[in-house]
């Protein structure tokens, strides 16, 4: 997206740029989930396309419900992709909607030695950047062990120590990861990869 145009788009989402950025990131996350769940091989490319259309729509008229519009646009682009795929069928491995029955190996990208090392290094750094309470909580939560039932009880006990319900504990853990830990690790891994190149 062009910078100026993107700035205008943000302004239509919220008058505060930071808030608008959060809204845009949040809606993009939904589009990506949509693409991944519909087995599109290039979920990020699909998300770019949808965000481009939303940006153009925002120039034309006021967006009243961003969620509804984003869903409608995502559906439309998905349908177009289906139609295009029918008209010009590609080999199944390369098709836009190829069903990857064979699938990528479960460990692809997970056990790539150097990537794993970088991620581990970044995770360590990012955990140190968290405040003490968040860091302790996230480590304690992930330290718990056992089978399903034992783990459930252990998490419940941990939540009780904090005076909250186990569902709320899971929510807090999720938010620490989503808003603090994961973005930090992604940025760190990218910059480490850039340095290594």
């Amino acid at each position: 997206m062009e910078r100026m145009s993107f700035d205008r788009f943000l302004l239509t989402l919220h008058r505060d740029r930071e808030e608008a950025g959060k809204i845009a990131v949040d809606i993009r996350r939904r589009v990506t989930t949509f693409a991944e769940s519909n087995r599109l091989p290039d979920a990020e490319g699909f998300s770019d396309k949808v965000m481009d259309v939303l940006e153009r729509e925002a120039q034309r008229e006021e967006i009243r419900s961003l969620g509804s519009l984003a869903h409608a646009v995502a559906r439309r682009i998905l349908m177009e992709a289906w139609r295009e795929n029918k008209r010009a069928p590609l080999p199944i491995e390369d098709g836009f909607l190829c069903v990857q029955r064979a699938g990528p190996p479960a460990n692809e990208g997970l056990q790539d030695g150097s990537l794993s090392e970088r991620r581990s290094q970044c995770l360590h750094e990012c955990l140190q950047k968290l405040n003490r309470e968040d860091r302790e909580l996230i480590i304690r939560y992930h330290q718990l062990k056992g089978g399903e039932e034992k783990l459930y009880q252990a998490r419940k006990k941990l939540a009780q120590k904090y005076g909250i319900r186990s569902r709320n504990l899971a929510l807090i853990i999720h938010r620490i990861r989503k808003h603090k830990l994961d973005p930090c690790v992604v940025d760190c891994t990218k910059s480490l990869s850039a340095v290594m190149k």
């Binding site: 919220h14 996350r29 939904r30 559906r75 990857q100 794993s116 360590h124 992930h142 120590k161």
Partner: protein, 274 residues
């Protein structure tokens, strides 16, 4: 928590998990997608279900068929593979990490409870103090105070003769206090105020709109949406003294049971007032 709520929560999480594993039929999938694009809470629940699914996979808690679906369907993108990789690193890191004795948790909690109590006490004292001051001021400077703010239909001046001010309210994001996101400036004198709202809930045929100021309800009305699901709230300028408000809009479906809730922040400023 009621059994029905508990059950619906469990059923929802099962549906979300099946969606992530690619087990839902096309119709169910489309319905869920439409909902999570519109509903922040549902999408967050989906992301939590994703974390739980990854955790269960890495700990070997998924059944054989679920593990197969996870590998064939879930691990379909680079982003998801990275997410699983990171979760694995986190489990490994945590297993080897050393932390202070668990007693620190209790200390933390104790401190938190103390602080929360103190903050609550101070807020309460502040609110009571402020109320006493404003009541005293109103008694001295105004005609006898009304027991509650006038609804627009009860204004002294015929409504049609008053100038009108309209404001389209933008929704507040979850987690904010709702303040400052919409600004309403009211010139001196009496005015009709039309607050326009477009709730994301496209299904409800009735809504309950309620304005809160400093955590207290100051105005409430049940409204029926117009074309395009627009809600127009008709107020009078005296209903809205200068201050920070938030508007709660509850979708009632087609009955009286609350179905959805949205918040709209509102900052009101009366021009020319001290």
């Amino acid at each position: 928590m009621r059994l029905a709520e508990l059950w619906s929560g469990v059923a929802r999480r099962t549906t979300l998990r099946r969606y992530l594993l690619g087990e839902l039929c096309a119709e169910e999938r489309a319905r869920l997608e439409e909902r999570y694009f519109k509903n922040d809470d549902l999408f967050e629940e989906m992301e939590m279900a994703e974390d739980e699914l990854i955790d269960a996979y890495l700990r070997g808690h998924l059944s054989k068929s679920e593990s197969r679906l996870f590998e064939e369907n879930y691990l379909s993108s680079q982003r998801r593979r990275h997410k699983v990789g990171l979760a694995r690193e986190l489990l490994e890191y945590s297993a080897n990490a050393e932390l202070p004795a668990p007693i620190t948790l209790i200390v933390t909690r104790f401190r938190f409870v103390q602080l929360a109590f103190l903050a609550g006490l101070l807020s309460f004292a502040g609110i009571v103090g402020w109320e006493l001051i404003t009541v005293h001021y109103r008694r001295r400077s105004s005609p006898p105070a009304r027991s509650r703010p006038l609804a627009s239909s009860e204004s002294h001046v015929p409504q049609a003769e008053l100038p009108a001010i309209s404001l389209l309210l933008q929704s507040s994001r979850r987690g904010t206090t709702g303040s400052g996101s919409n600004l309403l400036t009211i010139p001196p004198g009496e005015h009709r105020i039309f607050l326009e709202v477009y709730p994301q809930d496209m299904l409800s045929t009735r809504f309950r709109a309620e304005l809160f100021r400093r955590g207290r309800s100051v105005w409430r009305e049940d409204v029926t949406p117009g074309a395009g699901q627009q809600l127009t709230l008709k107020l009078h300028s005296s209903d809205l003294p200068t201050g920070t408000y938030f508007l709660s809009v509850i979708g009632l479906g087609d009955g009286a049971k609350p179905m959805t809730r949205e918040r709209f922040g509102l900052e009101v400023v009366h021009l020319g007032s001290p």
